[in-house]
Each structure stands twice: as C-alpha cells, then as structure tokens.
C-alpha cells in the first residue's frame, strides 16, 4: 500500500519550519523542468545563473509562502519574473511575438542548416536535436508559452496569469508554436 505523497505546499511549510530535508525533496521534484525552462531560452551560463537566483528567491520566500494554488504555478511565476529581470538587466530585447503563423518559407529557412540524410529522414537523435533547435528559434512569447505548457505542465489559464496575457492570446501562441514545430519536423519525418 503506497503512502500519500507529501504535497509541494506541505514540503514548503515543513522546510519553513526547519525541516531541511523537505527542501531537498522539493528541489528534486522541480529542478529538471525549471532548469530546462531557463536553458531553452538562455545560453548555458545565463541559464545557470537564473536557475540559482530562482531557488535562492524561493529559499528566501519560504517562511512567507502561503499556498493559494498549485505550487508549480507559484514556482514558474517566480521563474518567469527571474527571466524577465535577467532580460532587463542584460538589456536584451524580447522579440515581439508575431501571433501569426510563419510561412512555409520561414520554416524552411529555419531548417536550412539541418540537412537531412540521404534518404530524407533524420535519425531519432537528429530529430530531437532538430526539435530543440526549432524551439530555440521560436519567437520569445511563443517559446515561453510552449515551454510552460509542455515542460512545466501548466494549464493555459495558469500561463495566462503568469505572463499577464489573455487566455485567448496564450492559446494562439500555443497553436502557432505547435504549428511551426510540426511543420519544421514533418519535412523530415
């Protein structure tokens, strides 16, 4: 008979009351998705920095944390804020997300340097690499929405709340992102 898994909110409360092991369990659960959220949007060193800043913020906020929804929602809200702060500090422009479908030419251009094999098919490993490259080339807002949906596994409503966008806007970004990724890969599948 399996034991009920301690919730993230309970782990936060336990950590805030001095149980250091609870933080370790919480970290173990979320380190991967949070790291990849940064890593898909930033170069490795910057992703490392943002990742650490996020967890230090969480450690600092732990005594004041009051569960009012899903912990993941709270965690990725912090992550989104860290990312935005990083962009502001590095004066990097967040490219406007054209919520319009990219043309087939755009997609073809994105794939131009990934030549398929002689039989026109990419091996599975190459396909994965191509997918990551395609995600990296999505406009910022589409990419972030897609990562929050499929990496953080958040609902479109939660993504809308985190990014301060309308629900319809988020659905639109998700649709365009998926369409670009599919089109980009299907040429080779």
């Amino acid at each position: 008979m399996g034991q009920r898994q301690t919730t993230d909110a309970e782990l936060m409360r336990l950590y805030a009351s001095g149980d250091q092991a609870s933080f370790g369990r919480l970290y173990e659960r979320h380190r991967g998705p949070v790291y990849r959220y940064f890593r898909r949007q930033l170069p490795p060193e910057e992703a490392d920095d943002c990742f650490q800043v996020l967890w230090l913020k969480l450690i600092d906020h732990a005594p004041r944390y009051r569960p009012s929804g899903e912990f993941r929602h709270y965690l990725f809200t912090l992550a989104h804020n860290v990312l935005m702060d990083h962009y502001r500090r590095s004066r990097r422009r967040v490219e406007a997300s054209a919520d319009e479908p990219a043309s087939d030419e755009d997609l073809a251009m994105e794939l131009v340097d990934g030549a398929p094999g002689p039989d026109g098919l990419l091996a599975e490993a190459e396909l994965r690499e191509r997918l990551l490259a395609l995600i990296g080339r999505l406009p910022f807002h589409q990419r972030e929405a897609w990562l929050l949906r499929h990496e953080a596994e958040l609902s479109p409503e939660a993504i809308a709340a985190i990014t301060g966008t309308s629900l319809e806007g988020i659905r639109s970004r998700l649709r365009y992102a998926a369409r670009k990724l599919k089109s980009g890969l299907m040429r080779h599948v």
Binding site: Y27, R31, L56, I59, I135
Partner: protein
C-alpha cells in the same frame, strides 16, 4: 493535464513525446550542491533567530501580565493605638513588621517598644495585643494607652489610669489603676 480547448492531435502529441525524450538536461552537481547548501544555511540562520525573538516576546508577555495583575494598594487598617490616639498616617505606614517572638524579659521589653498589632475587634470596642500576648485584650471605648514600667497603662479621656496591662508568659495580667471604676476589675 488535458484542456478541452487545447486539443493535441497525434502529431503534436508525438512532438511533445519527442521533446520530453530529447530534453533531459539537468543542472550540474555543483549547482545542486550550492543550492542545497544555501537552503541549509538559511534554515539554520532562521532557527538561530527564532529563540531570540521568542525569548523577547515571552519576556514582554510576562511583563505585561505582571503589570495587569499587580494588586491595587490597600488602605492601612487602623490599629488599637490609632483608635485610642490617632497617629499621623505616614508614621503608621512606616511602622515595621513585628519581628519573631522572643521569650522572657526580652519579650516584655519588646512588648513595650512595639506598636500595637492590629486585631480584628468588634466595632464598638478596641482591643490590644502584642507579639508576646497575641490574644487581644478588650479596651474601653475612647481609652488612651501609654507605656508604663512593665506594660501599658489604660487611661480614660481625662487621663485617669483605669488599669495597667502586663503580658506574662503569654497571658495578660490586669491591675486596677488609681482612677479605676468598678467595671475595670479583671473580668478573668
């Protein structure tokens, strides 16, 4: 997490599966160590701060409680001597508490020197007691007492000594004075 407004077709589902298989990147072990160490240190620092904050709060609470429960000052009760010849309030307030009871001559000497001990008495009559003879001896209304060679003299308002009281072995001895009235004979 399924959303009816966000349907995924078979290709998109395959795309997501491919992504999950493709992207398994994790933070380095060094980063893990740094973050877990920071969490430990923050937790320890918080625990160190708590006892101090807790002690300060507890001390403040005890002080507040002590102030709340402090009894109001009671008015001093009048003594037999006060009834006989009113003494200044300040002097009465300064009167020290009676010391432990000695025996013999020392007790007698002490009985002369100490102020009368307040005793519960009927409202109509005052009484007199000392540490050597704690049983109160009744005094006539308006009586004036003054120390004598071996006890106290009890006089009326005119200054005529009605009787003398002596404390012997814990009992009162009463001897009629020059101005004694028949009622001043020792009732015992």
């Amino acid at each position: 997490m399924s959303d009816p407004n966000d349907p995924m077709d078979g290709v998109e589902r395959r795309l997501v599966e491919l992504y999950r298989a493709a992207d398994t990147e994790q933070p380095s072990a060094e980063i893990d160590r740094r973050i877990l160490r920071a969490a430990r240190e923050a937790s320890t620092a918080r625990r160190r701060r708590w006892p101090l904050a807790g002690l300060a709060t507890a001390a403040a609470a005890v002080l507040a409680l002590a102030l709340l429960l402090r009894p109001a000052p009671e008015p001093a009760r009048p003594t037999a001597a006060d009834l006989a010849s009113p003494a200044p309030a300040a002097e009465s307030a300064r009167a020290p508490a009676p010391p432990p009871v000695p025996s013999g001559d020392a007790a007698l000497a002490l009985a002369r020197s100490v102020r009368p001990v307040p005793t519960p008495a009927p409202a109509a009559a005052a009484s007199y007691a000392t540490p050597g003879c704690p049983e109160p001896h009744p005094l006539p209304a308006g009586a004036v007492i003054r120390p004598s060679a071996d006890g106290i003299e009890v006089a009326d308002r005119n200054g005529d000594v009605r009787f003398t009281l002596r404390c012997r072995d814990g009992r009162w001895e009463r001897e009629p004075g020059a101005g004694a009235a028949p009622a001043d004979a020792d009732p015992r």
